[in-house]
């Protein structure tokens, strides 16, 4: 099935699909630790696994003017993709099954910059399951995160790669917030001791100051 964006591409009005260099080996965020700044394939993987609520809020923030990028939904589609396994000993790829995914091609107006001519640009979203909202939110975030690549000023949270990607994984986020309910009494004891000491010193200074004032008033 041809993509809607391909029709615009025929007129030369939209940027090409953003192919990685020929010798680029796609990264795998499940097998390599993240490193900043990251290539777009890695960034898209991280966004794909990102928390829907987080991406939704960030995407929404771009619509409200925090790094607005004038989005139009070029296409949203839902389908099944087949998963294949390459076994070196076999002459063919072994099919494992299929996964339902939702894809969004966002078409964004772009007036051009020092780095790129005026044209439509793309934001891309691909998410597991049937979730148009998350696919669209991801496409908005992807486009915002391309700011540096397209020569735009980085002015808002949604454009900040390290901020967005470091906080998009909801398994990490939920774990770290919830770990606050584990005991922390050892570190708290250390802080308690410090605050008590500083408070005592503060009170001593205050009292000394007041005593001084009284003496001066009496004189």
């Amino acid at each position: 099935m041809p993509r809607v964006s391909a029709i615009l591409a025929r007129e030369g009005l939209i940027e090409p699909d953003g192919d990685m260099p020929q010798d680029h080996v796609p990264g795998d965020i499940t097998r390599e630790p993240l490193e900043f700044p990251m290539a777009r394939d890695i960034r898209l993987q991280a966004l794909s696994r990102g928390d829907e609520g987080f991406l939704l809020a960030l995407g929404y923030s771009t619509q409200r003017g925090y790094a607005r990028n004038h989005p139009f939904v070029g296409e949203v589609r839902i389908g099944e993709v087949e998963l294949e396994l390459d076994v070196p000993e076999l002459p063919f790829a072994a099919p494992l099954g299929s996964v339902r995914v939702t894809e969004c091609q966002m078409v964004n107006q772009f007036k051009g910059s020092a780095k790129a001519p005026p044209q439509f640009t793309r934001g891309y979203g691909l998410v597991f399951g049937q979730s148009e909202r998350k696919a669209m939110a991801m496409a908005l975030c992807d486009r915002a995160l391309r700011a540096t690549e397209l020569g735009e000023d980085v002015v808002a949270a949604a454009q900040d790669e390290e901020f967005v990607i470091s906080h998009s994984d909801n398994v990490q986020a939920t774990g770290f917030v919830e770990h606050l309910k584990l005991p922390h009494y050892v570190d708290f004891q250390a802080e308690l001791d410090l605050v008590r000491r500083m408070r005592a010193e503060h009170d001593t200074r205050e009292n000394a100051g007041k005593a001084e004032e009284k003496r001066e008033a009496a004189e």
Binding site: P33, S166, F176, P183, D187, Q189, A190, E191
Partner: protein
């Protein structure tokens, strides 16, 4: 044994263990440097010790005896769960006795009983980057470590002195390792910092969510950052442990009633129990000694 059959030994698959083992070796070779590793999702939330658990799972063998503590105690929820996890997936012997353990996984404390050669202390680390609260960006902090540019940290500590008359960091107190890398000791109270210096034990640090492993080989210089006119000091307590009368140990304040009445007791439960077994008694010690959990052999 049926439980074991459902998992590979120590839960992780062999390729993951190899990847973590390689990171551990690099960590030992570059003391204090944070080695990035491809941390896996574990059957527990990030922030609950996934880094420590992955390190322990990668080094542990059937002959090991494991101790797990949280806040110095063997009976806190995180410690109990992780100990039970390894009993289940590795079928190893577990203990609460510091001296009997070959591997000690810890959250927030270093045991009071001196560690010995051959023991491995595995720390659970939430934020491995000592510069993170001064500079949130990894791109920047990595550069600072590369260039050994730690001025920002000294400025922060100095501002503390200017404002509060002292360095206002009481736990996760930064250290310099072998005169090169500034390292986060994990959120242990600074009381424990001197125990890291030239310890005969191997110390491994695992941060699962942040995907970093680092290490201190035995007999490695670990110096807490300070200034000549404001030397590093550990916490001191005005009174001994209310249960075992220990001095020069780290104490927790336990609330006794609704009016703020409290007592100070050892945070290291094994240390406290051992002392009470030896007959040491604090002013609030109960009449009869507590029933103690002993070493449990592997089934």
């Amino acid at each position: 044994m049926t439980d074991i059959a459902t998992y590979n030994f120590a839960y992780l698959d062999e390729q993951t263990k190899r990847m973590i083992r390689r990171a551990i070796l690099k960590g030992i070779a570059i003391p204090g440097y944070q080695v990035p590793f491809a941390s896996r999702e574990m059957p527990m939330p990030y922030g609950w010790g996934t880094g420590g658990v992955q390190v322990t799972a990668s080094i542990i063998g059937p002959e090991d005896v494991l101790k797990v503590i949280d806040q110095g105690a063997d009976d806190t929820t995180n410690a109990v769960s992780i100990r039970a996890f390894f009993k289940k997936v590795a079928n190893v012997a577990v203990t609460t006795e510091t001296a009997k353990a070959t591997i000690i996984q810890t959250r927030h404390r270093i045991p009071e009983h001196p560690l010995t050669s051959g023991q491995v202390l595995v720390y659970q680390v939430p934020i491995p980057e000592p510069l993170r609260f001064l500079e949130p960006r990894e791109t920047e902090t990595r550069k600072m470590h590369a260039l050994e540019e730690y001025g920002l940290m000294h400025v922060k500590l100095y501002e503390d002195i200017a404002r509060h008359g002292r360095i206002a960091t009481t736990y996760a107190y930064p250290v310099k390792v072998e005169g090169r890398y500034v390292m986060d000791p994990s959120p242990t109270p600074k009381f424990d910092n001197p125990k890291m210096h030239r310890s005969p034990a191997l110390q491994l640090f695992g941060a699962g969510r942040e995907k970093r492993i680092y290490a201190l080989p035995p007999f490695t210089d670990v110096v807490s950052l300070d200034f000549e006119d404001h030397p590093f000091e550990v916490q001191t307590f005005d009174q001994p442990c209310a249960l075992c009368a220990a001095e020069n140990v780290y104490l927790d304040e336990v609330i006794l009633d609704d009016h703020g009445g409290h007592m100070f007791v050892c945070s290291d439960t094994d240390h406290c129990e051992k002392r009470r077994e030896q007959g040491h008694r604090g002013h609030l010690a109960p009449e009869t000694p507590l029933a103690l959990e002993k070493t449990e052999p592997a089934q």
